[in-house]
């Protein structure tokens, strides 16, 4: 399994073979506050890099979830739809959003390492 990469839109992505698991970062959940609604893409649909692939809503506002790479949605995490508070509890592990069969692994090259992302997130919220 490869290292976890991060996007500027605060998604994380973990690649396992040609299937990527995608979710939102802990930093994102802290900025959003209590998450009370999640909408995921449809299984079998195709999503394009940097396109909208879902929505999360906190008590305050709605935010789009983007996909950092292109691919076909092969699985979604129904548990976070049924209980969105799970996203706040464990965002970078069990509360993943969707899995993609990715088309082009080179799309991951533009994403950030954990270290770079942490720096980026810190600067963004300063």
């Amino acid at each position: 399994m490869s290292e976890v990469k991060y996007s500027k839109e605060h998604e994380w992505i973990k690649l396992d073979g040609d299937v990527a698991t995608i979710g939102i970062t802990k930093h994102a959940t802290e900025m959003l506050g209590d998450i009370v609604f999640a909408e995921l893409p449809e299984k079998g649909s195709s999503v394009d890099k940097d396109g909208t692939a879902g929505v999360v809503e906190s008590t305050k506002a709605a935010s789009d979830v983007y996909t950092p790479v292109s691919g076909e949605v092969v699985d979604i995490n129904q548990e976070i739809v049924d209980d969105p508070s799970k996203i706040n509890q464990d965002p970078e592990n069990t509360a993943w959003f969707f899995k993609l069969k990715i088309k082009d692994k080179s799309e991951l090259n533009s994403l950030m390492s954990k270290e770079d992302y942490d720096k980026f997130a810190k600067e963004g919220s300063a």
Partner: protein, 367 residues
């Protein structure tokens, strides 16, 4: 314009508040526990709200002032008992709402609590209407602290002995550090609670004392979810100059005695609407499922005809689901009417429902 800070700013910082600018003030939107926990803590225990950004307008006068204010507000102020409060509105001649407010009769005149974003304009309007005949002070030297929730009465009574005996929508003078404070049993969360008008220099000390006794600071975020569950209007969203109190379904707040005479600003329209009905009216709206309908969401009937708009919508932590209110054409305002909400390009089913979403638990003496 520089943003203002309330006298509790340091305390908010000490409690790890996240700040937002609201009506020109740096206000806490939430603290470290977050909106949902803060909301539930208020419903189950006791929450403290810094509402010092709201206007505290003192108007000094006697019998003449009562007569003049009755030309402005649709209230029976003559028969309002000393230290008792009423919910009301400042209207224009078309009954459009400039602001909603709480007015209390005091031994020196009246105290009017105004919305932060409206207070300066209200002051100007009232000064003009009263033709500068009375001393009016929009008091910047006083803070306003609300304490809300079932444990609040007990907690506040440890500081102000006797406060637990106040009736809902009435107040009295108490002392704190030998200074006079005015406390009313009121609030805007749907819970039993109090609002304390206290000199700025003493607000921090009082609030820390209330925290030590088991209450907690609650941000504006939870204040919004609490008031929406309680079916209470937020000015600038559910109320504005294009809406009348009758359309806002607030006719209960208009004195019947005053309607029969009809000699207040906006009374022509109010009487006409009470007799002939209104085209649009404020209703509660409960989306089916979990989807949240925010302000400005369009409402459609089952034939896909646009019939209204959401004016407030969020997730209600005590309801454990989405809650909203908005205005629909009168014929679709009946409870259980099925409507559709357009959210991100898709129509989602919802039902018109009665308000509040969460049952109020005010103490005896409700109106």
């Amino acid at each position: 314009m520089e943003t203002k800070k309330t006298s509790l700013y340091q305390l908010h910082q000490d409690c790890n508040a996240k700040f937002v600018e609201f009506a020109g003030y740096q206000m806490p939107i939430q603290y470290s526990e977050g909106i949902v926990e803060e909301h539930k803590f208020t419903r189950n225990h006791s929450g403290i709200f810094d509402v010092s950004h709201m206007g505290q307008l003192f108007i000094y006068g006697g019998e003449d002032l009562i007569k003049d204010l009755e030309k402005i507000f649709p209230l029976d102020l003559k028969n309002l008992k000393l230290n008792h409060s009423k919910y009301s509105f400042l209207m224009d001649k078309d009954a459009g709402i400039h602001d909603d407010l709480i007015i209390t009769k005091t031994n020196e005149g009246f105290l009017i609590i105004l919305n932060a974003a409206c207070k300066d304009n209200d002051f100007k309007i009232l000064k003009e209407l009263l033709k500068e005949r009375y001393k009016m002070v929009l008091d910047e030297n006083k803070s306003l602290i609300a304490i809300q929730g079932p444990k609040s009465s007990q907690i506040l009574n440890e500081v102000f002995d006797g406060v637990k005996d106040l009736n809902f929508m009435s107040g009295n003078w108490f002392t704190f550090d030998n200074k006079k404070v005015f406390i009313t049993r009121s609030g805007y969360t749907g819970e039993d609670g109090f609002e304390i008008s206290i000199l700025n220099n003493f607000a921090d000390k009082l609030t820390r004392e209330l925290i030590n006794k088991g209450s907690k600071l609650i941000g504006l975020g939870a204040r919004d979810t609490l008031r929406l569950e309680a079916g209470l209007c937020l000015y600038g969203h559910d109320l504005d100059k294009d809406k009348t109190p009758v359309e806002a379904n607030l006719k209960w707040a208009i004195s019947k005695e005053r309607i029969s005479k009809g000699d207040f600003i906006g009374s022509d329209i109010i009487i006409k609407q009470l007799n002939n009905g209104v085209d649009k009216i404020r209703v509660g709206i409960k989306p089916e499922g979990k989807i949240i309908a925010r302000e400005k969401t369009k409402i459609f009937n089952q034939f896909d005809v646009h019939i209204g708009e959401i004016t407030s919508g969020t997730f209600g932590p005590s309801v454990n689901g989405p809650v909203a209110m908005g205005y629909v054409e009168n014929e679709f305002s009946k409870k259980n009417t099925k409507v559709f909400l357009e959210i991100r390009g898709k129509k989602h089913p919802a039902n018109i429902c009665s308000l509040p979403f969460y049952k109020k638990s005010y103490v005896k003496g409700v109106n």
